[in-house]
């Protein structure tokens, strides 16, 4: 170890001529740099970088466990012309629309209130954060059972309040259809299935604490003098929030919305588990909770059509890129940096 470090430091005279002198020192430093990044690079190239190209290669083939013939973009064509694919896109988009804004709004309100001079602030923040560290397998199972139509506490509470009970994970019909039925109104659209809404509750529960923590860090970074100055100018509480807090917090909000949207597109574990944990009971979501990630998993490891699944994963990748670009475009106009 000592020998290695000595050589690396140039403590001993280099054995090779080209490594001595001023140029040599530069070269030695560069070699050292490559040496330091080598272990990480091997792993990242092998398991993160190269697989992208390999996945593309797979997607151009008929690949049923083992490699079949080259078929061009047939797998993409097949994906884009099946209902299942578009259904998964629809489910995923509902999932994003139904979770991201609510989760960010709740987190912003909680962070703003926690940022006031509040007693027990740290304890509260810690409680809000707890869901984020739990394994989604365990907490997803807990949610699936909490929303059980017969013995779950959620329906018990609804019943106690005199509200109609829902079938939650067992209800493939749209939330607006079901609510409309109860209220005697006919909505022109069905909306996400009640089963998907159940999953959305989980997602919001899981992420709010994380978002709150990051919002709190963002709030802490806003200089206090700005508020003081605005107060002297006679700004009220709402004006302070509207004209100082919100704009200066916008980079944080932007970051969180990006993370949340990308995360939503990859939603797998909890969706998988919440469906599995209630699989033995009668009824089911009938594919209304099949997000893109679930569809890809089913096609890759349920029926091992690797080529088809890879094509879909690429389409998902493109979708994520497009949405991120749009977000960046909108965000670029809205975000204010100090």
């Amino acid at each position: 170890m000592v020998g290695l470090s000595d050589a690396a430091e140039g403590g001993v005279q280099p054995r090779f001529g080209f490594l001595s002198g001023r140029r040599g020192r530069y070269l030695r430093e560069a070699l050292q740099g490559y040496l330091y990044i080598l272990p990480a690079t091997i792993i990242l190239v092998l398991f993160h970088f190269f697989p992208v190209f390999y996945a593309f290669y797979i997607s151009l083939h008929k690949w049923f466990i083992v490699k079949g013939p080259y078929i061009g973009f047939a797998n993409y064509h097949r994906a884009l012309t099946t209902d299942k694919f578009w259904n998964a896109i629809r489910v995923t988009l509902w999932y994003v629309v139904g979770t991201v804004p609510i989760q960010l709004f709740l987190a912003l309100v909680i962070a703003y209130l926690l940022f006031q001079k509040i007693r027990g602030k740290e304890g509260l923040r810690m409680i809000y954060f707890l869901p984020y560290v739990t394994s989604t397998v365990a907490s997803g199972a807990v949610f699936a059972k909490m929303f059980n139509p017969t013995f779950g506490p959620v329906n018990k509470v609804l019943a106690a309040l005199g509200l109609p009970m829902l079938r939650w994970m067992k209800e493939p019909r749209g939330i607006f259809t079901v609510l409309g039925e109860q209220l005697g109104i006919h909505f022109p659209f069905a909306g996400p299935s009640v089963a998907l809404v159940t999953i959305m509750f989980f997602v919001i529960w899981f992420w709010v604490g994380y978002d709150t923590t990051i919002f709190l860090a963002g709030l802490g970074a806003i200089p206090y003098e700005l508020y003081e100055a605005a107060k002297i100018d006679g700004a009220g509480r709402w004006q302070l929030f509207r004209h100082i807090t919100l704009p200066l917090l916008s980079p944080t909000t932007f970051f969180l919305s990006l993370v949340a949207v990308i995360g939503s597109f990859k939603a797998f574990n909890h969706v998988f588990i919440m469906a599995a944990a209630s699989a033995n009971e009668i009824g089911g979501p009938l594919g209304t909770t099949t997000t893109m990630a679930i569809l890809i998993y089913n096609n890759a490891f349920g029926t091992p059509t690797f080529g088809y699944a890879s094509a879909m994963s690429f389409l998902l990748f493109i979708l994520i890129l497009i949405v991120s670009l749009i977000q960046n475009y909108i965000g670029g106009k809205q975000v204010h940096y100090m």
């Binding site: 739990t134 365990a138 807990v142 018990k156 990051i214 963002g218 890879s310």
Partner: protein
């Protein structure tokens, strides 16, 4: 004095009411966040009939449920039918987590240091290529990775479970941000003393970066503990199952025995919750920096 108090009084109830509302809101929110945990633990202590009836509070705390749930699956070490010792879900996970964390510390610290301090051609290009891979969804890489791991003969082995996760762009980024913050003066002074990169890293950078290192250890440990999709695909034998995969098969097998299911969920969640309780400060700082730097 009395006039002042009289004047101030009309305003006070309003302010107090606002405060009260804030506390009410925050506390009910916290109760909602806690409710699933409370329900999980209470349910884990019920009888099966109590669960079916939907009773909120168990008549008697059945701690025995935990022993039963533990006995129903391969959570702990055991001897299989051939008399071979098998570590079980928990030890599997601890072993995988230990290897992953150690390897990550090695690869990520070195790379982060190089990106922060060493001058070499192509540094920025390589670094940004690394960062760009963070955009790639796991769905894209999982199939080729599975094929690659099969070619290497690592399916259904610890190697297959561990090796793909032994370096992380995220941790490299996190550490690099931290290393960059270490003043240049320190390095110049060390250089004067004839100190090179390796010794500077070991003797000065690492001791100064304890907070960042603890964050990486924590995050990667919890990441391994909660890992699900990859082990679900790679671990075929029950003997190799880490806890999340074990819990998943437990959930599907237990069916109606929700009390046992919740007992298992409890012992899978609790270790991480305890870890979080004791390392809260590090954790929050780590999370907050990722947000601010992003």
């Amino acid at each position: 004095m009395s006039t002042k108090a009289a004047r101030a009084r009309p305003f006070r109830p309003q302010i107090q009411l606002g405060r009260l509302f804030i506390y009410l809101f925050l506390i009910s929110g916290a109760l909602l966040a806690l409710f699933p945990f409370i329900w999980m633990v209470l349910t884990s202590l019920k009888t099966q009939t109590e669960v079916a009836r939907g009773a909120f509070w168990p008549e008697q705390f059945r701690w025995f449920n935990y022993i039963e749930a533990w006995g129903e699956a391969e959570w702990g070490p055991y001897f299989d039918v051939h008399g071979k010792w098998v570590p079980g879900y928990f030890l599997n996970t601890l072993f995988i987590a230990f290897c992953t964390v150690t390897a990550n510390l090695f690869t990520d610290v070195l790379a982060a240091y190089a990106f922060a301090r060493i001058r070499f051609p192509g540094k920025n290009v390589i670094f940004f290529t690394f960062l760009a891979t963070m955009m790639i969804p796991g769905e894209v890489t999982i199939i080729p990775n599975f094929l690659l791991v099969s070619k290497l003969g690592w399916v259904n082995s610890y190697l297959g479970l561990i090796v793909p996760w032994t370096a992380s762009v995220f941790y490299i980024f996190l550490l690099r941000q931290f290393f960059i913050g270490i003043p240049d003066d320190l390095y110049d002074a060390a250089l004067m003393d004839g100190c090179g990169h390796f010794r500077f890293l070991i003797q000065i950078v690492l001791p100064l970066s304890k907070a960042a290192l603890v964050t990486v250890i924590l995050f990667s440990f919890i990441g391994s503990w909660n890992a699900f999709l990859w082990p679900l695909i790679v671990a075929r034998d029950v003997a190799l199952y880490p806890i999340q995969v074990g819990l998943r098969s437990f959930i599907t097998e237990m069916g109606n025995e929700v009390h046992l299911m919740m007992a298992a969920a409890t012992f899978v969640i609790v270790p991480v919750l305890l870890l979080y309780f004791f390392t809260q400060k590090q954790f929050t700082e780590g999370i907050a920096t990722t947000g601010l730097k992003g």
